[in-house]
Symmetry: C2
Subunit: 324 residues, 2 copies
Amino acid sequence: MMTTLIALDWGTSMLRACRLGKDGSVLEKRTLPYGVTKLPSSAANREEAFLQVYTEACGDWLRETPACPVIACGMIGSAQGWRQAPYIEAPCDIRQLAQQLTRVETGHGQYFSIVSGVWKDGDLPEVMRGEETQIAGALQHDERLRSTMARQGKALIALPGTHAKWVEVAQNRIAHIQTFMTGDLYDALAHHTILATTIRPSGQPDWEAFAQGVAVAQRYQESVGLLGTLFSVRSRLLCKHITAQQQADYLSGLVLGSELLAVLSRLTPEPDQEIPITFIGSEALCQRYIRALTYLECPYPVHISDGATERGLWYIAHLAGLLD
Amino acid sequence: MMTTLIALDWGTSMLRACRLGKDGSVLEKRTLPYGVTKLPSSAANREEAFLQVYTEACGDWLRETPACPVIACGMIGSAQGWRQAPYIEAPCDIRQLAQQLTRVETGHGQYFSIVSGVWKDGDLPEVMRGEETQIAGALQHDERLRSTMARQGKALIALPGTHAKWVEVAQNRIAHIQTFMTGDLYDALAHHTILATTIRPSGQPDWEAFAQGVAVAQRYQESVGLLGTLFSVRSRLLCKHITAQQQADYLSGLVLGSELLAVLSRLTPEPDQEIPITFIGSEALCQRYIRALTYLECPYPVHISDGATERGLWYIAHLAGLLD
């Protein structure tokens, strides 16, 4: 099938490219290890490096259909990216994303468009690049999320990862954003603190250890908090309550548990109202979060939405008239 | 003056040696960069490496006064140390520390003694090596702490550092221990997460940024908690609320603030009772904690106790009959 849109999810460590057919279906996917902080060093300069990766990602597709529009989201639009795409200030309507694309010339009269990030000022300012596109995609294409929006006009979207984000959408507006540095913190703790001396990667997840971590996070949330429970990853090993192979999942339970407890404590539904949670992200990580929510007896329905990025890019390209 | 006792504070990264005169006064001090995880690699094996460092630390002192007793505390008694010294289980009387020293032969009929660590089992098990000796020293020699103990029979001791410990002593017993991985976490965050990309060391502490961090920790303690405020170290920079030079002290305020808020929330003094806090540790770090306590309007008197380690080693050596 002919390529109608080339969609690039160009993040910090990876570039995911796909070409979409005329109904928005994915025809082909590629993943390149060239995120904006991982450009190949063979190029003469940064501009050349970006162009080289771009050509590797979709040059052949563009030769086949030279007039095909290309749209990108993610860190490619950051100060460390190819071209800085301005932020749109939240609360903002999802449709605003299509009104402010940043164009990058790629030579021979061709160009591609970068979707703006979203920011929110305040005491704890928030910024996102890429997640706004995933949210747009889920709002447009995820049936369960659409039915929640139709029923109660608002929903909660979870995007776990290095910097996990929880986003409240209301009437198709990005209303509230809260970032937890959960993945980044977990990696730093597991590899660059005293815990690194003993933690052993577990081949299979140890759900018993994970459950213990979540339970401890809950039990001590209001007294010593996360900072006061971290040392137990080590001391439980020294006291032989857990093994070195269990430390990773116990620690994971502590940090994910802390994040989820903070989120749940913020949710105050109207009487008779549910707060369905839509997860967007890696399947295994989303399942891990959902498992922790079960341990915490979260009363709300949860589900995982997939294909959100390419659907979001498709939707924004459509709104922006790129597909006409 | 003749050496009466050689006291070694042999930790993870450093060895601090001093020789004490007959009244326990410090005659000479040395610091060697050979903690138990930093032994010189020139030795044939670990045993040799320990002996080599030991000789460098106090070999000349022992040649002058060969019968002089040597006592050590800290990680030298851990599984990674020279000889494993068993833990004493808390709650325990400070005097028990003198009843169970671990002897290490150093050749030619000579030996030195390692003070046991203290542990406490439970949901959040606790272990310490070195701090028990500092507590013993402060309880014995710190006038303000002694007067608190005489007046109300209990006190709170803070030992900030890589793994900050807060210890409640009651009737000369180590009653409760709580570890916060504050220093370790701070270093991992500052050097091994997204924050590392921009944080610049500030020559002078930026107390304005530090105060902001403490205030944010307090404001969000009961909602998103520490995990939910960490990203603001980055986002406040992106939104130009702080500079790259301020990030380090803002982050320091967040993590120290979180620790102190957890500690303060646990304290429930009897009516008309104060809870004086005795700090033991590096002067600059203790002052930083005390500053944060002031921001948090901590109602209790605080002071810094110094010389706790050598005084503790002296006291334990005395109780154990090593000085007779």
